[in-house]
Symmetry: C2
Subunit: 408 residues, 2 copies
């Protein structure tokens, strides 16, 4: 592809106007929106006003003027992006904390139905916090255990002792995407529940939890949803489970009457029981502002543009001699692309030095987020050219590119 062809795709791109709604750094091509989404321009004023007016002037009165309902209100904004009803999603805590809540709740519910159901099945190489949290969660339920198997062994691992199948929809490293409907059915056919981690798929690809019949899900606010660094996360509980599952982190914000100040805990109805402590109001405000950009966006256009961006960058990476580890079939992947190379770290650093920000994942993966709302086809073409130059010229071999950072 030539630059002219990329520019022609931009000229015909219905999502092209979205790019200017984000702060775009001079000389920067940001291919890490799958790790930390870019800053929406409107969020500068929205968070500024939240601090100056809602906190600074209205102070405690703001709890009655929008803050107390923010977890449900912002959750309802996420719902259409993941195929959920508005009252099946709420925003709270971090993805890790929400995973703990749902895994423990699902284990307890499964054991009530059948004491033999005590195993959480998950995938080796799943995003580490999912496995780490599952380790912690099984320790909180007598007899429960975690079984981590390779992707190819997942189907055989489901059985009469399975309580929960815990999968990340789009793999954080390779972008491989599970067939949500197929794996939901496989778990349920085995008598288990399924919990989907949507961190790399919400806002990246079309997700339809209800169409798949999914039971539970969690996801991240700071990637494709552009909610800001450490944005609060979300959780989804299918309506049929909402009365039957209980939050082990039974804090006051999940109480039926948080301001009744009773000693005993009584779970709120619906999704509110998944709240625990006082929510992060600044985080919720930034996330709400980021989600506002999704209003009116056609996910089919997002999916189509993601595929077009992917093709451009895939061609460049391949031309540079990198090994692509992301599936070629668009329905089998998310919206990032990963390559393997023995000098992955150094190449990523050399790209950063040129203003192309991707990231490195141990031990040998180069990962690039292709976020359709914030990037043009020409951006991807230019980044691809730089990747080719850096690899072909050996530019990445400069000593400064081997220096390791705390966060890579």
């Amino acid at each position: 592809m030539t630059l002219e062809e990329a520019l022609a795709l931009d000229a015909a791109d219905p999502l092209a106007p979205c790019r200017d709604r984000f702060v775009q750094g001079e000389g920067l091509i940001y291919l890490d929106g799958n790790s930390l989404g870019q800053l929406p321009r409107a969020t500068i004023e929205a968070t500024g006003e939240l601090v100056r007016v809602a906190w600074g002037e209205q102070l405690i009165r703001s709890w009655n003027e929008g803050w107390i309902d923010a977890p449900a209100r912002v959750g309802a904004m996420i719902a259409p992006l993941i195929g959920a009803e508005a009252d099946e999603v709420i925003v709270a805590d971090s993805t890790s904390v929400n995973l703990y809540k749902l895994i423990v709740a699902a284990l307890r519910q499964a054991q009530q139905r059948d004491p033999a159901r005590k195993v959480v099945v998950s995938e080796a190489g799943n995003f580490p916090t999912d496995l780490h949290i599952a380790e912690g969660a099984v320790a909180a339920v007598a007899g429960a255990e975690l079984r981590v198997v390779e992707r190819g062994a997942l189907a055989d691992a489901l059985g009469a002792d399975t309580a929960l199948l815990l999968l990340t929809h789009v793999h954080y490293k390779t972008a491989e995407r599970f067939d949500m409907a197929g794996w939901t059915k496989a778990a349920q056919d085995a008598g288990a529940l399924v919990c989907w981690d949507l961190s790399h798929s919400a806002g990246a690809v079309g997700v339809d939890l209800n169409a798949a019949g999914a039971d539970l899900a969690v996801g991240c606010g700071y990637k494709y949803l552009n909610g800001g660094p450490g944005a609060p996360a979300f959780l989804y509980v299918a309506k049929r489970w909402q009365d039957l599952l209980h939050n082990p982190l039974s804090g006051w914000m999940g109480h039926a009457e948080p301001f009744g100040f009773a000693d005993g805990y009584a779970a709120a109805a619906g999704m509110k029981r998944w709240l625990t402590g006082t929510p992060s109001v600044l985080g919720l405000g930034a996330l709400e502002s980021g989600l506002a950009l999704w209003d009116g966006i056609d996910m089919a256009q997002v999916t189509a543009k993601s595929a077009a961006l992917w093709d451009i960058f895939h061609a460049a990476g391949t031309a540079a001699g990198l090994e692509c580890v992301t599936p070629q079939d668009p329905v089998k992947r998310g919206s990032h692309i990963s390559f393997r190379h023995a000098h992955a770290y150094e190449i990523v650093q050399a790209l950063i030095a040129r203003g192309v920000i991707g990231d490195f994942r141990d031990p040998d993966i180069l990962r690039f987020g292709l976020t359709p709302l914030t990037l043009s086809h020409a951006d991807i073409w230019s980044a691809g050219q730089m990747l080719i130059e850096i690899v072909e010229s050996g530019e990445y071999r400069r000593p400064e590119f081997a220096v390791r950072n705390a966060v890579t």
Copy 2:
């Protein structure tokens, strides 16, 4: 006291310059800093720059430029306010979530030492989330139970089966303050650990966890520490326990190598193991800015001014015929004052209508935060005069003051 006398106290007040470091609303006297602390002026620019520059321009690179260390760095800023070493405090999640971590960890540790130690003892009428979370925490440890007793029965409740004594240092309603050293000793003499909730004492009164020999503590960032609505909370683990206690919410940020991406969990050394998911960067930034105001503040002056403000408002409330439920002895209370009145709700609403913001706590408590950094003696005198007028004139009986809000 006359207004002139109050103004004379202000003229001699070494903390008087602090007041202008906060946004002060025109015609507003804010006596709710114990619920949501006021906005430091510097936080407007600090959070604005965090959004515009660190997020908007530096993007993912900011993780290597201060974000990843923020939980420990901000924790170290809290340490001197609570009598802890810098490496005994870390900022994470909410107070409720942190309570869950420490209660479960303490229960498991106690049972390792002695399987008979399985009871968490706490006080009836403690802040509800402490009791609610304790309910959830005991459910995560086989055989554990929660025993909630009246304050007068606490000493007798400690015994050979006690794993943990869970107390809130300053009571959220009445401002009664426990003798930290005495109750720490009582718990330890009984062979138990103690966990202090410092939400209403950090930044309100002098706290010395190390001098008291305390084991564990949690506390809130959005009250006297002025960290903003829903600010992240902190937790403290005495150095002697740091290797022996484990975070049940074992997420990737508490891993020894978060960016090694291993499947198995391995706890980080020191306080980092108490992190769970990706921290709220916006929340940490606002909290850090709020804590910067405490640098160089003499807690003895804070304590003395708190007592002076208390005396002024106590005299007013008593003159208005309200029943004070806060102890008269300054060492037996925090930095708020509470009164009981059958029309507490309406009086609070009438005060708010006049620009004096306190709060109501079910069923009949009027509560007023006396925050020495943000308030002058004249502020308190004026608020006291309005309280007297509202009660004596029956102004609070207007029908609009009986309308209930979601958050009171």
